[in-house]
Symmetry: C2
Subunit: 720 residues, 2 copies
């Protein structure tokens, strides 16, 4: 009794101090490893994990060791007992190639067949010892297994009868940081770039390791360190030394480093008179540069390139094709095993063609012309990361060229740094969309997984990471980073189940928290679409910073930068005719898809004004007119934010005060901004359509002039 | 025995978990409040502090409450026991005006005489109860006393026979943040601006409160939020709402908010045709603007102004004087109790006069012409924050105008974000310098404390604070923030004793740590001067970013921006003749000072080349030539860094690994950069003087071309 009192006494002190001492500022992301409060549960795990036998002695083995110390000591409150031989209730961890045959010979066949980066986690009895075996196909696979295991404990899952085999369905799972060398982040709302270039390579910010841990925990295996609006300076030798320092840090976490290649670097850095990809001096320059990089970073991933897009230099400056451009770089990195990722985000400043058609028109004819180590990276939709877009017609359209998905995690068009919007829902809608490219069931996810080269499949996310303490600015931005990683590993995973996991890891396993926050998250995307761009509208944001509404903007230097280009609102109606009577962008889809979207009556309402110009007075399926429906959607969006606030407030006592406050303050901002979007949009549409507000619709709080007069010269993330 | 075991067992768990759970990333600055490890000492304090009776019920009282919880619970490991009546071994805390007469009537007279912001801390017996009384003249004074008290406990000082009375010797103790509205920080090396303007006023970053705590703990009572290279936008009403949010947060900590006033704001913001300070429309505009500010912030401090300096607009654009400019702003804020701080940092882009003379020449004739609520802010030396400068001749020269000191905490010229340089030594040298303005003993400190208006005395420090986790980039930058606060409170305090306190609070009370780190710090300034600009040299840095050496630079648009202007090195000699045979800048000092500096033989060597042009072959007191001596100083500087590394490594086991590593990595950078300064400088001087290296002097590692070719387009802190 006294001993129990003693232990409880100490325990209570420890629990209370644990609670007090760990600032819940969001820094620990979903890797919090706080003491499991339920005594029974904690004891259960302690009994299952009496010791750990770690066979992997690689650099990744050290990372695994450290993560287990953090994780198990945090969760269970006991020091990890490391063993060198088999024992009861032991976690045995190793990697293919270092796995002794005596340890579960039954496993060896499966192990042989395990895809790289995969792992097996299985409760077994080995030589009469009840153990949990964790073996990866590679050190990275083992590390992924360790994170998976720790997350099971974080989520209070049973260790009985565990039998997982996991392997990623996409090989390249990558973050694209739009980080500039001056540490500004284009479309970044979480402070500034975490890469402290000036003090690299000697000063290694501890944050770099936590970055690597966070990414490894969700299976991300690649990072592009620099903005697609590239700067040649990253290729200068002193900067390559800095890149090497990061690559060395990330390697044990299974993360490769990539860079964006400024197409004009041979001129700007190499002082050549040209950057023509077919010029032998240029070809040699890139070969020499690749050799210089690989001498420092033997597993350098390769280059990501934005060329002949929005002013970036490229092969077309020399009347060469995208394939010519990609191929000179591909040839340069090929001897070293590197790849080139060439972005399909192009739209001409000269062509009168519908912007939504241009990437397809430029790239599909090039199918088969790219080297074998080139992927083409395609945004989820044909315009540019709008709150909702139909899937990009290029998915399923190129059979000889590996395509990878480009999602945007940073919320450039979905509330930036101040709105709670769970993008898992958006990405799920895209990934599950049926392209019908090879008949029914050719989902976008399927086209990504089953490209022409099983080793060149992938997904990239434009990162939302910055120097803010909680990494992502808005705390719920973390959920989007997390969800991106999970979907890049398994594009078929459901957004709701990912949200559930994130909530359990980040906040708590309590049912009321899980349910409440999941509902908030699962409604948040449609809520945002509703107050910004409902019914298939798109690209209605303010100029430059893209912060707040600007549907009236009509004065930019390129017509397809103007919101009016997209909504085409006039006294009669609104929307962009992309059918055969209009731009026929719809023609780039498979026939079944065309049939589905092609008539205003059959077209799902969420895409209506994307594909059709519709009269304001048109009666919708609901019985209301388009105008009435549009106003209802805005109101639903504003109400949706109010519901999120009510929901969040209802679990106040179940969330730590710090993160509760963070989110509550952001919700206040979101409420104000949702109303702003609604009011400014309605005021503008009224100025165009001359219609009265539908009955029951609150008038905008200000007049249109007011909304048009607002200026935000220092809104963050501005494109330099 | 069992109970003791139980308690010890729990204690050990707690200590070990405390140690593990508190990341030592530098965020907690000198306010770490870690559990006192020595049982006896901890028990001693627990016995002295059985309860706390907090009488102050103001907003500051709440801040005091929270700080005591943090501090006492952290240090002692026991919950604070709050009382509502007198008791034994009690800490009684209150503020003049809320102090009941029965509590130590003997104190009341002293209390009455206590200067504002002062406090009394005294061990006493009151009505047979042994207590510690802490009473402040104002809530802020009480708060300062609380921090003082907590620091005593942090430093393991006895609570027996305590009898402190403290009051600041300068009234305005201020940080100047050179923060821009886009969150870049001019001459900032600690990341970016902590002011998240975009998300203010709704999102209040918890960092703001920790900023306030840190500043209150060292007596800082004012903060200028914006860059002296000002932007009118901060005066726009939506930005004033953001400023108000910060002012509301800081008020209970005794901190007032100030802004920089862009002199052309009446034009840029007010759309007036002029900003002429004597124009009635302009005068009215500033009055209206002041009213707008004070309606939101009743205790707004006032304006800091940089005008007609380095391109900033000012009264001289309208042929008015600095006094005219200051006075229009002073009149605007005067009804509300505000002040204007007008910077004397001017040097004409047209005058051929020695830059070192110009501020004095422009300002001293204006003595007496400023309104009573104006101070003139003067940099410590007459050029611009160089590693060493003689004191500014304006100190002691203006008898009717309050002057305040401007120090630079951010290390623009002293190693930026990568060098360990304790500036307390620099500031002490300046403050203790005897101006002889009213005979011997008229130290710079004395002139600051005894200005014409006892309420308008002060010291400002250009802040080194940014978004970096440890606030200041280099961990030892914290020591400079701390020292600045301490010196602003008491300009006579010794730099060594301040360093000692900082070490004890920040690292440990262990004698070996105190001694070792204090020696490192106390040698660091001279070390830096030695490898950068020894023997009175100045302004030899590279262009723009000021990162690294550039003594050869001779091509900038203003002659007095060129390093060659300052060193005047030629084949014969080096140095700037500021005596009567040269620019006669020396004539601006009192005669005694002139005599001291005036001849090369008598002039202290640390100022030699500041005041004299000296032949390379001149024999110095040491017997070595100037050239040999110069090279020796460089080598001493490089060796000095090596010694710091050895010293730091020697206490590796006494410092937490996190902060040990942080500093160790920075020292590696500093070593490299010290060598760079030395080598580039020597290579350049040789190219000018044609002399051989003195025997035993290592040649520069590269040739001069190499050093001249280096470029750092993204060095941080660049002036926009």
């Amino acid at each position: 009794m006294k001993k129990a009192t003693c232990i409880s006494f100490g325990f209570i002190w420890i629990v209370s101090f644990t609670f007090q001492l760990h600032a819940e500022d969001g820094y620990r992301l979903w890797l919090r490893y706080d003491r499991i409060e339920n005594d029974d549960l904690r004891t259960y795990y302690q009994k299952q994990l009496e010791s750990v036998w770690l066979l992997d002695t690689s650099a990744t083995g050290k990372v695994i060791h450290d993560e287990l110390v953090r994780g198990l000591e945090g969760l269970l409150g006991t020091t990890v007992h490391w063993e060198n031989k088999l024992g009861d209730h032991q976690l045995v961890i190793g990697t293919r190639g270092q796995w002794p045959a005596f340890l579960a010979p039954s496993l060896l066949k499966e192990l042989e067949a395990l895809p790289r980066e995969g792992f097996i986690l299985r409760t077994m009895v080995v030589r009469d010892h009840p153990v949990i075996l964790l073996v990866g196909a590679s050190p990275a696979g083992t590390l992924y297994g360790v994170f998976h295991f720790l997350q099971m404990v974080q989520m209070h899952q049973s260790l009985e009868g565990v039998d997982h085999q996991e392997a990623p369905r996409l090989q390249i799972r990558m973050l694209d940081h739009w980080d500039n060398l001056d540490r500004t982040v284009e479309r970044g709302y979480a402070g500034f770039s975490i890469w402290d270039w000036h003090r690299l390579p000697d000063y290694l910010d501890p944050r770099y390791l936590d970055y690597a841990r966070a990414n490894a925990s969700i299976g991300i295996n690649g990072t592009v360190l620099t903005n697609v609006n590239a700067n040649h300076l990253i290729l200068r030798s002193d900067y390559l030394d800095k890149v090497k320092a990061l690559a060395d840090l990330f390697r044990p976490y299974g993360i490769k480093v990539y860079l964006t290649a400024r197409f004009s670097a041979p001129v700007e850095l190499g002082h050549l008179p040209t950057a023509d990809p077919l010029d032998p001096r240029v070809r040699q320059w890139w070969r020499d540069k690749a050799a210089e990089i690989y001498a420092r970073i033997p597993d350098f991933g390769g280059f990501l390139v934005k060329a002949n897009s929005e002013g970036q230099p490229g092969p077309q400056n020399y009347h060469r094709s995208h394939a010519d451009g990609a191929n000179v770089l591909a040839d340069a990195v090929q001897p070293f095993g590197g790849i080139v990722i060439w972005r399909a985000f192009v739209y001409s400043d000269k062509s009168p063609e519908d912007r939504a058609k241009q990437a397809y028109q430029e790239f599909v004819p090039l199918d088969g012309q790219f080297r074998h180590n080139v992927l083409v990276q395609v945004k989820n939709g044909p315009i540019d990361f709008q709150p909702r877009e139909p899937f990009h017609p290029m998915f399923g359209a190129m059979h000889k060229t590996p395509l990878m998905m480009e999602f945007q995690i940073t919320q450039e068009y979905l509330g930036q740094g101040t709105h709670l919007v769970y993008l898992g829902s958006l990405w799920e809608e895209v990934l599950q969309a049926d392209t019908y490219a090879s008949g029914p069931g050719t989902t976008v996810a399927r086209t990504l997984e089953q490209g022409p080269d099983p080793y060149l499949t992938g997904m990239a996310g434009v990162a939302n990471i910055g120097t803010d303490r909680n990494w992502t600015g808005h705390l719920f931005g973390q959920a989007n980073w997390y969800a991106f990683g999970r979907l890049s590993w398994n594009p078929e995973q459901s957004a709701a189940s990912i949200a559930e996991d994130w909530i359990r890891l980040t906040f708590s396993n309590q049912p009321v928290v899980r349910k409440t926050v999941r509902e908030m998250m699962m409604n948040s995307w449609e809520t945002c679409v509703n107050y910004m761009t409902p019914l298939g509208l798109a690209h209605l944001m303010a100029t430059g910073h893209h912060y707040g509404p600007g549907p009236w903007v009509n004065d930019l230097s390129r017509p397809e930068w103007n919101p009016v280009y997209y909504h085409r609102a006039d006294a009669g109606g609104i929307g962009f005719d992309r059918t055969a009577t209009g731009s026929n962008a719809i023609g780039q889809y498979a026939q079944t898809v065309q049939d589905s979207f092609g008539s205003p009556e059959k077209c799902p309402e969420q895409y209506l004004l994307w594909f059709h110009h519709v009269a304001w007075q048109t009666t919708m399926k609901s019985g209301f007119t388009l105008w009435e429906s549009l106003c209802q959607h805005y109101d639903a969006g504003v109400a949706g934010v109010r519901h999120m606030i009510t929901a969040w407030e209802s679990i106040r006592s179940d969330i730590d005060p710090e993160r509760y406050d963070q989110v509550r303050m952001m919700l206040t901002i979101q409420q104000r901004e949702a109303l702003w979007w609604r009011d400014a949009s309605i005021a503008y549409w009224q100025s165009v359509n001359g219609l009265n507000l539908p009955p029951g619709t609150d008038p905008p709080r200000h007049n249109l002039d007011y909304y048009q007069s607002l200026s935000f010269p220092f809104a963050p993330g501005i494109k330099p």
